[in-house]
Amino acid sequence: MDVGQDQSPGTVIFRTEKLRKVYRTGEVEVEALRGIDFSAHAGQFIVILGPSGSGKSTFLNILGGLDIATSGSVWFADEDLTRANEGALTRYRRDHVGFVFQFYNLVPSLTARENVKLVTEIVRKPMRPEEALALVGLTDRMDHFPAELSGGEQQRVAIARAIAKRPQVLLCDEPTGALDSATGAHVLEALTQVNREVGATTLVITHNIAISDIAHRVVNFGNGRITSEHINKSRKAPAEVSW
C-alpha cells in the first residue's frame, strides 16, 4: 500500500460503502454498524459525535485497521482495507495512521522523547522526535517519564508520537475524555495545529458536543448509523471551547 505523501485537499482519502460490523458473543448478535456510507477528504478535520454504543469507536477501529468489517468495503485512497491481511494491516498502521487514545497508552519505561522515537525508529521519513514534541509544545518536557507528566502533557506526547511518522490520517478516540476543560483545550489546540501544519486528515471521536465546533465537518452517529452530518461554516479556536 503506497499512498503519496502530498495529496491535494479534496482527494478522497477514506471511503466506506455499506459497512457492517456484527459482533457475535455466543448466541447473541450485536450489530454495531448497520451500513455506513462515508467519505473523508484529505486534510479534513472531522469530529464524529455520538453516544456510547452508537458504533463510532467500532467505525474508527475499522478505519484504523484494528478491526475487520463483517461486510461492505473500506477504501484508504485506492486500497481496499477489507481485503488486506494481518501483515498488510500492520504495515498500513505503521506507515499511514497515527493513533491517539483516551488513556494515552504511553510506554511508562520510556521518556517522552523515547516514546516518540519508538515510532520514528520503525517508519520511513519520520520527523525528528524533537520536532514532533515541539509541535505539541513539549520542548522543555522531552526527557520526562510519563509518570512525571500531567494528563494533558501525556496526551500531547501521544499526539507527538502519532504525528512523528507524518501520517496521512490521525485517528483520535476520545482524546480529551480523561481531561478537564482547560487541559483538554491544550490537547485540541495541538490537534488542530498538527492538522493544519502536517496536513493529516484528522478524525476525532467524542461524545462531547462542544468539541464539534472546532471541526471542518461533524458526523453524528446513532445506533450504528450516520444520523446526520454538517459542515461548520466557521470553526472555533480550541481556546474558545469549554465543557
Binding site: 484494528l66 494481518e86 500492520t90 497508552n105 504511553l106 519505561s109 523515547e114 515510532v119 517519564f145 509518570a147
Partner: protein
C-alpha cells in the same frame, strides 16, 4: 457451590497451561524425592530382610586346608552364634556354544542337614543329592544367561580334571547378590556364576576330605567382630588361614553396599535440591500470578469480602495447584520408583522385593510444596488485599522510572528504543528479574548437577581401561607359578604379548587404620598395564617401596615418603614396614603396586607369578579360548574389554537410569519456570505490547521485545547455573565416593553446553507459545482501558 468457588475453578480452567506448568514443576520435585528416597529405602529394606531370612554370615575366612574339628573350636569363640565350614574353589567351565571360557565359584553344600548360613534360595528344581559328584545347583543369573534349566549339563574343570555336571536346581544366595567374577567390575552372569555342589563330592575332587577351605560365621547380636576375627585368625593361621574378614570386605556385600551408598547419596543430595528449587519457583510464580489478579481482588473487596476471605480464596487457588502437582508427583514417583526398584532388584537377583512406602517422604514432599505455594499466595494476596478497593481495582499506576536509571543509561540516546525498554524494565524490578534469573539458574544447575555423571563415568572407564589396564585379557593361575608359566603363556595361540604379575592379599596398616587389599607386583617396564597419577602422567615403579592409590592414601592418611605396615595374608603371614614411594589415581577399589622383583623378595618364595596380562590377536581368540579351557593351571581369564562392556551396560542400567530420570525432571523444571516467566511477563506487559501493535509494530517486533527480556534473563542465568551446578557435582562426587568405586569430579564442557541447551530450548519453546499469544493480543480492548 459458592460463587467464589466457581470463580476458583474457572480461573484454574482459564490459566490451565500455567497452572499445569507450575504443577509439573512441583511434580518433578516431589517425584524426584519419592524415586530417590523410595528406591534407596526399598532396596535397603529388601537387602536387610533377605540377609535375615537367609542367614547371611557376618564373618568369612579362607584357609588352605583346615580339619573339620576346627569348626567346633570356632563355634566355641565368645560371640559366635553359628559356624558353617565349607569348601569354595574357583573353576573354569566349558559350556557348549560359548567360545570364551567361563568361570565359576564352586561352593559346597553340607551332606548332612541343611545349610546353617548363607542359605540358598531355590528358584526352581531341587538341591543336589548328597554325595553326588555330577549334580549341581547354579545361580539364577548364570542359569538365565545360559538358558540352563534343571537337566541342562556343562563341564567343569575341577582340580585339573574335567567333569560333566547336570543342573538340578536354580538358586539365589545372599552371599552372591553381586556375583562378581575375579577381576570383574560388574557382575557378568554369562562369564561367571556360582555353582553349589555336595561337599563330599568337592572334597573328593580337591583332596579336602575331612577338611574345609572356607568358613562362614554368624555372630550373636552385639558381639565384637574384631575380637572374633582375631580369634579365628589365631585358630586358622597354622592351616594356611588367609585372614578372616567381616561383611565390609565380603565382595558381594561390599559392592552392593557401595551401590546403595551411592544411590543413597544421590537421593540425599539431588532430590532435596529439586524439591527446594521447585518450591522456590512455585513461590515466585504464584506470587506473580496473583499479583496480576489485583483488579479482581479490589472488586471482591468493594463487594464486601474481607481481606481474610480474599486471601483464603487465593490460598485455595494455590493449594489446588499444589495438590495437583503433589498428586502428579506422587503418581510419577510411585511409577518410576517401582520401575527403578525392580530394575535394581533384577540386577541384584533379590528373591523378593520390599517396597518402601515411607509416609515421612510423602509428608516432607507435601509439606514443603504446600508451604512454598501458600507463602507465595499469601504474600501476594495480602499485599493486594491491603489496598483500598478503589485503587486495587485500577491497574497499578505507571511505575516511576527514576532519573538514576536514565543517567545509568545515559548512552540510551543512541540505543534502539526496544533495548532501552527491555533494560529499563529489567532494572526497574531488580528483585523480580533476580528471581527469574535465579529460577532459570536453578534449572540449569539441577541439569548440570545430574548430567555430569555420564561424562565422569566415561572418563573413569577410559582412565581405568584405556590408560591403566590396557591389556586385552588377564589370565590368573590357580596359585603362584614359576616364571616358566610366563613363557608357556607367551606361546598360547593368539597371544601377542604377555606380561607377568604377582598378586598377594595383604592388610595395609598405619596407626590404628587398616584396610584389606592386595599388592600387585608388576614389571617396571610393563606396557599392557600402566600406573598413572592424577595428572595422567605415567608413574615409574620404584625399585623398592609401595605405590598406592589416592583413595587408600586418604584412608590411611599417608603421603609419599611415609611408612606403612603390610601384613601378608598368605604364606608366612609376615608383617613388614614399607615406604610409600608415590601416590597414584585409581577410581576402582583400593590398589597398591610394587615392583614384581621387590615384592617377590619380600615374599621370599623366589621368582613367582600369579598370572599374566596379555595382548590378544582378535582373529585367534577362539583358539586361545579353547587352549585355555584345557590349561589346568589357568584358574580364570578376565577379558578386560568384555568387563568394560559389561560395566557400561550395568551402569547404563542402574546409575544412568536414575540420572536420566533426574535429567528428565530437571528438564521439566526448566520448562515450567521459563514458560511461567514468559507468560507472566506477557500478562504484565500485555497492555503495553498491544499498544505497540496498534502503533504499527508487527507481531514479530512486539514478540522480540518480550522475548528479548526472557532472553536476557535466561542468558544471565547460565553462568550462575553452571556455578551452582558445579557445586552440586562436587557434593555428589564426594557423596559418590566409596572405597570400592569413585566418580572423578570431571565436569566436561559438554555438560554445561547441554544444560544450557536444554534451558535455552525450553525458553525457545516457551517463546514460541508466547509469540502465538502476542498475535492474539486484543488491540481494541487496550484502547478502552486505563493505565
Amino acid at each position: 457451590m459458592r460463587a467464589l468457588h466457581l470463580k476458583l475453578l474457572r480461573d484454574l480452567v482459564r490459566l490451565w497451561a500455567q497452572a499445569l506448568a507450575i504443577a509439573l514443576v512441583i511434580a518433578a520435585g516431589v517425584a524426584t524425592l519419592i524415586v530417590g528416597v523410595g528406591t534407596y529405602d526399598s532396596l535397603s529394606r529388601t537387602r536387610a530382610q533377605y540377609y535375615e531370612a537367609n542367614a547371611f554370615a557376618d564373618v568369612f575366612a579362607n584357609v588352605t586346608r583346615a580339619p573339620e574339628a576346627l569348626a567346633a573350636k570356632i563355634a566355641a569363640i565368645d560371640g559366635v552364634a553359628a559356624v558353617e565350614p565349607r569348601i569354595t574353589k574357583f573353576a573354569l567351565l566349558d559350556i557348549d556354544g560359548m567360545a570364551q571360557p567361563a568361570s565359576a565359584m564352586l561352593v559346597s553344600l553340607p551332606d548332612i542337614g541343611a545349610q546353617l548360613l548363607n542359605k540358598v534360595y531355590l528358584r526352581m528344581g531341587r538341591l543336589p543329592t548328597p554325595g553326588s559328584d555330577s549334580e549341581v545347583v547354579v545361580s539364577e543369573a548364570f542359569a538365565t544367561a545360559h538358558h540352563f534349566m534343571p537337566g541342562s549339563a556343562f563341564r567343569v574343570l575341577m582340580n585339573g580334571k574335567q567333569r560333566t555336571v547336570r543342573v538340578t536346581g536354580v538358586a539365589l544366595s545372599p552371599e552372591f547378590i553381586y556375583a562378581l567374577g575375579p577381576g570383574d567390575l560388574m557382575p557378568n552372569p554369562e562369564r561367571f556364576g556360582i555353582i553349589w555342589m555336595s561337599k563330599s563330592a568337592m572334597a573328593a575332587a580337591y583332596d579336602l576330605g575331612g577338611a574345609f577351605s572356607n568358613v562362614a560365621v554368624r555372630l550373636v547380636r552385639g558381639a565384637s567382630e574384631t575380637d572374633v576375627v582375631s580369634r579365628i585368625d589365631a585358630i586358622l593361621a597354622p592351616y594356611g588361614g588367609q585372614g578372616a574378614y567381616g561383611r565390609k570386605d565380603q565382595l558381594s556385600h561390599a559392592f552392593l553396599d557401595g551401590e546403595l551408598l551411592q544411590l543413597g547419596a544421590i537421593s540425599e543430595i539431588l532430590p532435596p535440591i529439586f524439591l527446594l528449587v521447585a518450591a522456590f519457583l512455585v513461590n515466585m510464580t504464584l506470587s506473580r500470578l496473583i499479583a496480576l489478579e489485583r483488579e479482581q481482588i479490589g472488586l471482591l473487596k468493594a463487594l464486601g469480602y474481607s481481606s481474610l476471605a480474599i486471601a483464603l480464596h487465593y490460598i485455595e487457588f494455590a493449594c489446588l495447584i499444589a495438590l495437583m502437582g503433589v498428586a502428579i508427583g506422587i503418581g510419577l514417583g510411585l511409577y518410576f520408583g517401582a520401575e527403578i526398584t525392580q530394575l535394581y532388584a533384577r540386577s541384584y537377583s533379590f528373591p523378593f522385593l520390599v517396597f518402601s512406602r515411607n509416609p515421612a517422604v510423602y509428608a516432607i514432599a507435601g509439606t514443603v510444596t504446600f508451604a512454598a505455594a501458600l507463602l507465595g499466595a499469601i504474600r501476594a494476596a495480602l499485599k493486594a488485599a491491603a489496598l483500598p478497593p478503589a485503587i486495587a481495582m485500577l491497574p497499578p499506576s505507571p511505575p516511576q522510572y527514576g532519573r538514576g536509571l536514565g543517567g545509568l543509561l545515559g548512552f540510551s540516546a543512541r540505543l534502539n528504543q526496544s533495548v532501552v525498554m527491555t533494560s529499563r524494565h529489567l532494572l526497574h524490578w531488580p528483585w523480580r528479574t533476580l528471581g527469574g534469573v535465579l529460577g532459570v539458574a536453578m534449572a540449569v544447575a539441577v541439569l548440570t548437577g545430574s548430567l555430569w555423571t555420564f561424562g565422569a563415568t566415561e572418563y573413569m572407564m577410559d582412565y581405568t581401561f584405556g590408560q591403566s589396564n590396557r591389556q586385552d585379557a588377564s589370565i590368573a593361575f590357580t596359585g603362584p607359578k614359576r616364571i616358566a608359566a610366563l613363557y608357556a603363556a607367551e606361546h598360547l595361540p593368539g597371544v601377542l604379548r604377555a606380561e607377568p604379575f604377582r598378586m598377594v592379599s595383604v592388610v595395609v596398616r598405619r596407626g590404628s587404620v587398616e584396610r584389606r587389599t592386595s599388592i600387585t607386583g608388576r614389571l617396571p617396564a610393563a606396557d599392557l598395564t600402566h600406573v598413572v597419577d592424577a595428572r595422567n602422567k605415567l608413574v615409574d615403579m620404584p625399585p623398592s617401596g609401595l605405590v598406592i592409590s589416592s583413595a587408600l592414601a586418604k584412608i590411611l592418611k599417608v603421603q609419599a615418603g611415609d611408612n606403612v605396615t603390610v601384613t601378608l595374608l598368605e604364606g608366612d603371614r609376615r608383617s613388614f614396614e614399607v615406604r610409600v614411594a608415590s601416590i597414584i589415581e585409581s577410581y576402582i577399589g583400593l590398589s597398591a603396586y610394587m615392583d614384581i622383583d621387590a615384592l617377590n623378595r619380600v615374599l621370599g618364595e623366589g621368582a613367582m607369578i600369579s598370572g599374566v596380562n596379555v595382548a590378544i590377536d582378535d582373529t585367534a581368540q577362539g583358539q586361545l579360548f579353547s587352549a585355555l579351557k584345557e590349561t589346568p593351571s589357568a584358574a580364570f581369564i578376565i577379558l578386560t574389554k568384555v568387563s568394560l562392556k559389561r560395566f557400561r551396560e550395568t551402569l547404563a542400567q542402574n546409575v544412568n537410569v536414575m540420572v536420566t530420570i533426574y535429567v528428565l525432571f530437571a528438564g521439566i523444571i526448566a520448562f515450567g519456570v521459563i514458560y511461567n516467566f514468559a507468560r507472566i511477563s506477557l500478562s504484565e506487559q500485555g497492555r503495553e505490547l498491544a499498544s505497540l501493535r496498534v502503533l504499527g509494530f508487527t507481531p514479530a517486533e512486539v514478540s522480540a521485545l518480550l522475548l528479548g527480556e526472557i532472553g536476557v534473563v535466561v542468558l544471565a542465568a547460565q553462568p550462575i547455573g553452571w556455578l551452582v551446578g558445579f557445586g552440586l557435582a562436587v557434593a555428589a562426587a564426594n557423596a559418590f565416593s566409596t572405597e570400592i568405586y569413585r566418580v572423578p569430579l570431571v565436569v566436561e564442557p559438554s555438560v554445561y553446553a547441554w544444560s544450557s541447551l536444554v534451558s535455552i530450548g525450553a525458553a525457545v519453546l516457551s517463546g514460541l507459545i508466547v509469540r502465538r499469544r502476542v498475535r492474539r493480543l486484543d488491540m481494541v480492548a487496550v484502547l478502552k482501558t486505563r493505565e
